[in-house]
């Protein structure tokens, strides 16, 4: 009869590490792509013209950033 295999925590740790890395990449992408995202709406009726629209967008980005950021900052390395 085969001995039961000891539980190895390596797999969850690896998965956790790759999730964290993906979140960091997403966060960086979020910061680096703001210019192209804002200019996308610059076609005659600029996105930036609408005050509520602009600040809803910026508020949304900021919120998303903080959710991601707090997730990452609170995770154990």
């Amino acid at each position: 009869m085969k001995e039961p295999q000891p539980h190895t925590p390596a797999e969850p740790v690896r998965r956790d590490k790759s999730v964290r890395r993906s979140l960091w990449l997403l966060l960086l992408l979020l910061v680096l792509t703001q210019y192209p995202l804002l200019t996308l709406f610059n076609d005659g009726t600029p996105f930036l013209f609408g005050f509520p629209r602009l600040f809803c967008y910026l508020g949304g980005v900021f919120l998303l950033f903080f959710v991601l950021f707090i997730l990452l900052a609170s995770s154990k390395e």
């Binding site: 960091w24 966060l27 960086l28 910061v31 680096l32 703001q34 210019y35 192209p36 804002l38 200019t39 610059n42 600029p46 930036l48 013209f49 609408g50 005050f51 509520p52 910026l58 900021f62 950033f65 903080f66 950021f69 707090i70 990452l72 900052a73 609170s74 390395e77």
Partner: protein, 495 residues
């Protein structure tokens, strides 16, 4: 009471408060180099938080940033992105800087580099880079302070006297209480400047507009280009946006007066929380600044005294629209922003000179009291130099100031290697080769005004620095496991 006297008295009250805080901090001081220069490595979360944010935002946030919105429109929302990036960098790098700084008893950035690369040329090169690239910031801040006091007093206090007074106040409290005085005054300055800028912006907006929607529609009708990218003068192209993003995040993060903040934290876990929350302050400060700059676009024609330059738009709007007490409060906030950066740079330059140059090469093995006395003398010398630079404003300084904002980026490859030991496999010669190549690129690009493909000189210098350092490391095979092992172990032990 005369309006100018009310504003001047508010500024005087602010200066008096900082002096009292400096005096109280000085009474708590122990005769210990770490206590004087690094707050005994026991800064708590709130004090460190306000010290970092107040130091990060300088006179530029009050005078320069509204000018950018006023001239180039919403492209300056880039500031929102680079302040978020500062938070990310703090979470990634700062806990490691703290752990290694504690493990190797580092006081300065050069201490960390010298401990890792173990080569006699590394310490003086890093120390000189730190001093050269930050010392001219003192002059920029003291000029800002001089203009604020000079204009708030209706030119009754001459510009040289104004510079001398405010520089003197900052130098006195730094000499008295060391970094503890810098941190305690930062708490006051950080709160004051944040409240002041929001109050000032709200007053300007609601004095002339019924709602934010009406304000926005007026801006769109008056100058639609201010609400588009790349802005009315085509300044904010993507390369320029990207350049600002890197220079004002990593470039400022690596400056020695910010860098040593991370040595002073009580724990490295606290620095993660600090990184996650500093953008709340840093980013949101630009919201009222954005409104002020755009209000300037709409209201500038209605001002009886138009601003002498774009940098004067915020004071000009306040003087015209706000009550005198509010003008005094906001301009004292601008003085707080300048002073909180200037005192930090005065302090760090005194630390770098005393620790990296004086203690290592001129007078090793003296007592802590002796080094503290030397540190105080260095602050006095810096005060005199800054005074003369601010009053005479030599023309070459324009280049040096531009150089200082990008120069700190030269430390990046070395720091990457130290904090992630062995990641670039750099040795000391590769590190120095990269720095020299990057510095040459920076000097050539800045003095000849070159911006290839629209990117700022600082970006090119960073790319060249990384490429030469990594290429030289592969060629010379001098870095690697031997240099990296003690640092890897230290990071593992502390984890």
């Amino acid at each position: 009471m005369e309006p100018w006297l009310v504003s001047t008295l508010i500024l005087a009250a602010y200066m008096l408060l900082t002096l009292i805080l400096g005096w109280v901090a000085g009474r708590k001081l122990e005769v210990d180099v770490e206590d004087f220069f690094l707050y005994g490595r026991k800064a708590g979360f709130l004090v460190l938080y306000l010290a970092v944010v107040a130091t990060y935002h300088s006179a530029f946030a009050f005078l320069g940033a509204p000018a950018y919105f006023y001239r180039h429109g919403l492209g300056f929302l880039d500031a929102g992105c680079w302040t978020l990036l500062v938070g990310i960098l703090t979470v990634i790098y700062a806990p490691r800087i703290h752990k290694l700084g504690k493990a190797f008893r580092c006081l300065t950035p050069a201490d960390l580099f010298a401990a890792y690369f173990r080569h006699p040329a590394v310490r003086p090169v890093i120390a000189l880079l730190c001093m050269v690239f930050s010392v001219f910031y003192i002059q920029v801040q003291s000029m800002g302070l001089g203009y604020i006091l000079h204009s708030i007093s209706g030119a009754r206090i001459s510009y040289p006297l104004a510079v001398g007074l405010l520089l003197g106040v900052a130098a006195v409290y730094v000499m008295t209480g060391g970094l503890r005085a810098v941190y305690w005054t930062d708490v006051l300055q950080g709160v004051w400047m944040y409240v002041a800028v929001w109050l000032g912006a709200a007053y300007i907006l609601f004095a002339r507009f019924d709602s934010l929607g009406e304000f926005w529609r007026t801006v769109a009708a008056k100058s639609p280009a201010h609400l588009t990218l790349p802005g009315p003068e085509n300044f904010f192209s993507y390369p320029m946006w990207f350049s600002f993003l890197i220079i004002f995040s990593m470039g400022v993060f690596l400056q020695p007066h910010i860098f040593i903040r991370f040595y002073t934290a009580r724990s490295s876990g606290m620095l993660k929380r600090l990184g996650a929350t500093t953008p709340l302050y840093l980013t949101s400060l630009y919201i009222p600044i954005c409104f002020v700059g755009l209000a300037g676009v709409v209201l500038v024609d209605q001002l009886s005294v138009p601003p002498a330059s774009a940098d004067q738009i915020f004071p000009a709007l306040l003087t015209e629209l706000a009550p005198v007490w509010l003008t005094g409060l906001v301009l004292a906030g601008a003085a707080a922003a300048s002073m909180s950066t200037m005192d930090a740079i005065l302090h760090v330059n005194s630390l770098v000179f005393t620790q990296d140059i004086y203690q290592h090469y001129i007078a090793p093995g003296r007592t802590g009291a002796h080094y503290i006395a030397v540190g105080r003398a260095v602050i006095f010398v810096l005060l005199v130099i800054s005074f003369f630079l601010s009053v005479f404003e030599p023309k070459f300084l324009v280049h040096l100031v531009a150089l200082s904002s990008s120069g700190a980026l030269l430390l990046w490859p070395g720091l990457q290697e130290i904090l992630f030991p062995g990641s670039l496999r750099l040795g000391p010669r590769a590190l120095l080769a990269g720095i020299v190549a990057g510095l040459l690129a920076l000097l050539v690009a800045l003095f000849w005004g070159l911006t290839p493909l629209g990117f700022h000189a600082g970006i090119w210098a960073t790319i060249i620095n990384f490429s030469v350092a990594v290429g030289a490391a592969r060629l010379w095979h001098e870095g690697g496991a031997e240099l990296a092992r003690p640092f890897r172990d230290a990071l593992r032990e502390e984890a």
